[in-house]
Symmetry: C2
Subunit: 238 residues, 2 copies
DNA sequence: CGATGCTTTGAACTTGCTCAACCCTTGTGG
DNA sequence: CCACAAGGGTTGAGCAAGTTCAAAGCATCG
């Protein structure tokens, strides 16, 4: 299967950037990562990387594209639990005989690789542990968002999270990053209807906070965005 | 500080029940747990067990009482992220220099103890790993609840989760368990106002699904409850 | 050039919120 | 022993945020 998203040679870069920052990887560890990324594995958009309830076969690292953990109700309602972005881990958990607690679907075409074993690599141990911790933090934020934020705040807060996570993976240039989501998907993530999401995004645009067109998302006014969320103007990134 | 909730001798029982089930502990490991529980540490209701942003000092196990991870917004809005029940771990994470991602407050008076070091105890390794995995599963459920369930479903689903978790800790007798929450707290957990929560709880009672009085909660009609949530009638507990 | 998938708009509707009062139980001090 | 304060729980009426349904606009792609 061909992967047109990122040229093969650069496929590892986002994951290397993210994991070496959060794990303070040394040259050897980065090399191990690159070697793993040299054997990428592709999934088509809408494909399932992990299926809820099934045993987890191997630990992977997302290299390119967007994926998401989702839960679908018996009657068809759908909720996105969290996004999985380049450099994020998939299926990392410490139990023996682990069972997936959620389905992970590819939102776009996606590439991943097997996560190099951390044995003998203290940096990888740190990186994996920190990545799990960040994952958990994202879940907590998602709960707070869905629980107590208005639609407007919820969308903005999620956009800021996505911005910061792309920043960490070195995927922001000029304040802008690729956000190939449809409004339907973003609605599933924010627990809104796509109709209402659309209206609120229009308000965000009208207020000059964000630009989102042709799959590129740019936070135009960080200060105003943080203010709208009632938080300290500049948020520390890790 | 005196702890009137559970007699000291029995203080370890819920934690032992839960952790030995999920970790298949051997006699020696159970003994290590009991020894740790013999030096309990108490917190008053409303006290903070962990504070968001501060370094995590030590890993603990909750022995008795209810606690909860919470997030408070700058303007005072509050969201309960998850409940912490007897046998649950507190501050377990694998990074070095870990920072707490959420504040944990005591809902009732609470007792905890230091978590015995798992070195040399494979059962404890399993138990801690599984406990972390369950924790994550609870966060995912919470997201799905807040995101896509109606108030009625949300409350019922949370009550079933609490029931199952108490079951696991051997804290259910006669289908009934202690639930010393105020409606205000339950409203913060389900992201509702206490007014609306109250009305929906009344409907649950009227429909014969639950009884909740004098701090005791009983799920009266499991089949109907599962049906109302559109899921298979009997849910597997682990 | 039609089909398909995404975005945008309008109008009626519903769920859950707000505000305000009242009730009940429990504990405390005169 | 009563009064009263305090903290939950309950009720009502009006309101607002977000949903539903339906249709139209607008790209892109074979």
């Amino acid at each position: 299967m061909k992967l047109a998203i990122v040229a093969p040679a650069r496929l590892a870069e986002a994951a290397v950037a993210r994991l070496s920052k959060i794990g303070r990887l040394d040259a050897q560890e980065v090399e191990a990562l690159r070697a793993a990324a040299d054997q990428p594995r592709g999934y088509r958009a809408r494909g399932e990387l992990v299926i809820e309830g099934q045993p987890i076969r191997r630990r992977e690292i997302l290299l390119s594209g967007w994926a998401a953990r989702t839960r679908v109700f018996p009657d068809g309602r759908r909720q996105l639990l969290s996004f999985v972005l380049p450099g994020d881990l998939i299926g990392h958990c410490e139990q023996e005989g682990p069972i997936a607690t959620s389905t992970i679907i590819a939102i776009t075409d996606v590439a991943s690789c097997v996560a190099p074993d951390e044995g003998g690599y203290p940096g990888l141990v740190r990186a994996y542990a920190m990545s799990r911790a960040l994952d958990e933090a994202h879940l907590l934020s998602q709960i707070a968002r869905l629980g107590r934020m208005t639609a407007y705040e919820c969308i903005l807060d999620l956009m800021l999270e996505l911005y910061e996570r792309h920043m960490l993976a070195g995927l922001v240039s000029n304040g802008e990053f690729e956000c190939p989501l449809t409004q339907d998907v973003l609605a599933d993530a924010t627990a809104l209807t796509s109709v209402h999401l659309n209206r609120m995004v229009q308000v965000l645009r009208r207020n000059g906070l964000v630009r989102w067109q042709q799959g590129q998302l740019k936070v135009l006014d960080h200060t105003a965005a943080c203010q709208a969320l009632g938080r300290p103007p500049v948020r520390v990134t890790i």
